[in-house]
């Protein structure tokens, strides 16, 4: 029983990261129909920026985190402008954008591969505090993650449901053509979507760099986990869908990692494939 709770607590901790990545991906995929593979790259850029500043240059944690998130935002907007913009303008469809995005992700990953030589880069120096309640060890950092995730989702809810830009975003999710016809400023909305999604991925990157560390292939890994979370939850209701999807996936991966650690990606992707087959619209869709 204690072990069960222990694994559950690990799973919920993981779910926070998954949710931060997944919600940005869902925001972009659900509204703009862009399969943003490089979203994982944006996440990684923030993590490495944070690692370099905090660990290598000894800059204060919060300043490094802010710069890390800023780098993610710049990278996200730049990828949209430099890569997706031209592909779409020249008549490329969803697959073309997907492959171009893959290209962008490969380039950045190669950069980090050359720079870090594939070694895991952890930004923190000390151990993370844990405390034990009823035989279950909780990590203090998991509560930090939880606080950030709750704040981020709260802010997202307010943005989507209380501002005019948020209304436009939701309009794009429902019917992009109709939204453009009734005068939604698609360019400005697109800018806002990439900005916010990248900032959230950046936040996740900073937290992961501090917590478990990064290696160059983590961008792809986290992205695909985010994608599975989004498929689990469905893109119709972005916030609730990703929370449900990420939580299910976090708990599932924690249990799979506990029961058969060798089969971690097998479990995740088998779930994805089975889910795509039986319920492509997601649990809530």
């Amino acid at each position: 029983m204690t072990i069960l709770l222990q694994v559950l607590s690990t799973g919920v901790g993981l779910a926070g990261y998954y949710a931060l990545i997944a919600v940005g991906f869902a925001l972009i995929f659900g509204t703009l129909r862009i399969f943003h593979v490089a979203h994982g790259t944006v996440f990684m850029i923030a993590g490495y920026a944070f690692f370099s500043l905090h660990r290598l240059l000894g800059v204060n944690v919060f300043a490094s985190a802010v710069v890390g998130v800023f780098c993610a935002v710049v990278a996200g907007l730049a990828i949209d402008k430099i890569v997706y913009g031209p592909v779409l303008r020249r008549g490329g469809g969803m697959f073309a954008v997907f492959i171009a995005s893959l290209g962008a992700a490969l380039i950045v990953e190669a950069g980090f591969l050359a720079w870090s030589k594939g070694v895991v880069s952890v930004a923190r120096t000390g151990m993370l505090d844990t405390f034990i309640v009823g035989g279950v060890a909780f990590r203090a950092f998991d509560f930090v993650i939880f606080a950030f995730v709750a704040a981020a989702f709260g802010a997202l809810y307010l943005w989507l449901h209380r501002t005019s830009t948020g209304l436009e975003v939701r309009g794009l999710t429902d019917n992009a053509d109709l939204a453009a016809v009734v005068g939604v400023n698609v360019r400005r909305t697109r800018y806002a979507i990439f900005l916010i999604a990248s900032a959230l991925a950046g936040l996740a990157g900073v937290l992961v760099a501090y917590d478990t560390g990064l290696e160059p292939s983590i961008g792809f890994k986290m992205l695909f986990i985010g994608v599975v979370a989004v498929i689990l939850g469905g893109v119709r209701n972005i916030l609730l869908g990703t929370v449900v999807g990420a939580t299910c996936l976090g708990v599932l991966t924690a249990f799979a990692g506990f029961l058969f650690p060798e089969w971690n990606s097998f479990t995740i992707f088998l779930i994805m494939i089975v889910l795509i087959i039986i319920r492509p619209q997601g649990i809530l869709g």
Partner: protein, 286 residues
């Protein structure tokens, strides 16, 4: 010279993979992002039979291709219900699923991560005859693929891609063609896998990851979709280009990342400026 023959053999092997992938992606419009899985199945079955059970290499190669084809059909059948983008995503997942299978279940030689010690027949045992044999097999595969795509079957495949409804209206089930060509391509890829093992002498699970599937995508993307010439051209140009990078004198730890960055850049430029590749007859429209 030894090295040139090795590179030539690798080109021949990857040409077979590219030809198979182009049949599926280019001609039939099924976005396969998991070819590496079938390559791995072919390589592992061939190597296991030959090394651990002492089966004759040709027989092992044949069985490897057949099993790869069967695995191809089995993995495709549940995916037939889904289309377009989700299909691509599911095939992408296949890479990760099979990596874990190779990693956890595939036999390995004691004290190593993979398999080595193939008992190769004379035609494959040393580098010059191996080069000649693999190139001959690759040419035979190219002719076979060309024959397939110029036959009525090839027309049906293109119809499956462009006008599945029209094909169905003529009383022909597009799914039948999808299964047929996917199985055939998986078998060809499995054959290439066996030859790949013979070329490298050593195989381990890291050879058959998403990276290999992306590599195939880059080859046929550059060469051209729905074109036999395109498949061959893409592989020759990119592997030759890749080898010429050696003369730049980069420190060895930068060669891999540099190549990866170039391939990434190529993918972006292709998608912006020339989605059909050099000599392709079809592009990613959807």
């Amino acid at each position: 010279m030894e090295h040139l023959l090795y590179i030539g053999t690798l080109i021949a092997v990857w040409t077979i993979v590219a030809l198979a992938a182009n049949l599926v992606i280019g001609y039939t419009g099924m976005m396969s992002m998991g070819q590496a899985a079938y390559l791995g199945v072919g390589a592992y079955v061939t190597a296991t039979l030959n090394i651990l059970l002492g089966v004759n290499f040709y027989l092992a190669l044949l069985i490897g291709s057949i099993i790869a084809a069967v695995v191809g059909a089995i993995t495709l059948l549940p995916l037939l219900r889904i289309g377009g983008f989700y299909f691509a995503l599911a095939t992408l997942g296949i890479n990760f699923v099979f990596f874990d299978i190779f990693h956890n279940l595939a036999p390995r030689v004691e004290g190593s991560e993979g398999l080595y010690g193939l008992q190769l027949p004379d035609l494959l045992a040393s580098s010059a005859p191996r080069f000649a044999t693999t190139v001959a097999v690759a040419i035979a595969c190219a002719m076979l693929c060309q024959a397939v795509v110029t036959s009525p079957l090839g027309r049906a495949l293109r119809a499956t891609r462009d006008r599945p409804d029209a094909l169905a209206a003529l009383g022909k089930d597009p799914r039948r063609y999808q299964v047929l060509i996917w199985t055939f391509a998986a078998g060809l890829t499995g054959l290439a896998g066996g030859l790949y093992a013979a070329t490298l002498f050593y195989i381990d699970p890291t050879l058959f990851t998403l990276d290999a599937s992306i590599l195939v995508l880059v080859y046929i993307g550059v060469g051209g979709l729905a074109s036999t010439t395109g498949s061959v051209l893409g592989v020759i140009l990119l592997i030759a280009f890749n080898e010429s990078l050696r003369f730049l004198g980069l420190p060895s730890q930068f060669v891999g990342p540099f190549q990866q960055a170039i391939y990434g850049l190529l993918l972006i430029l292709l998608m912006i400026f020339r989605r059909r590749g050099l000599v392709g007859k079809y592009d990613f429209t959807e």
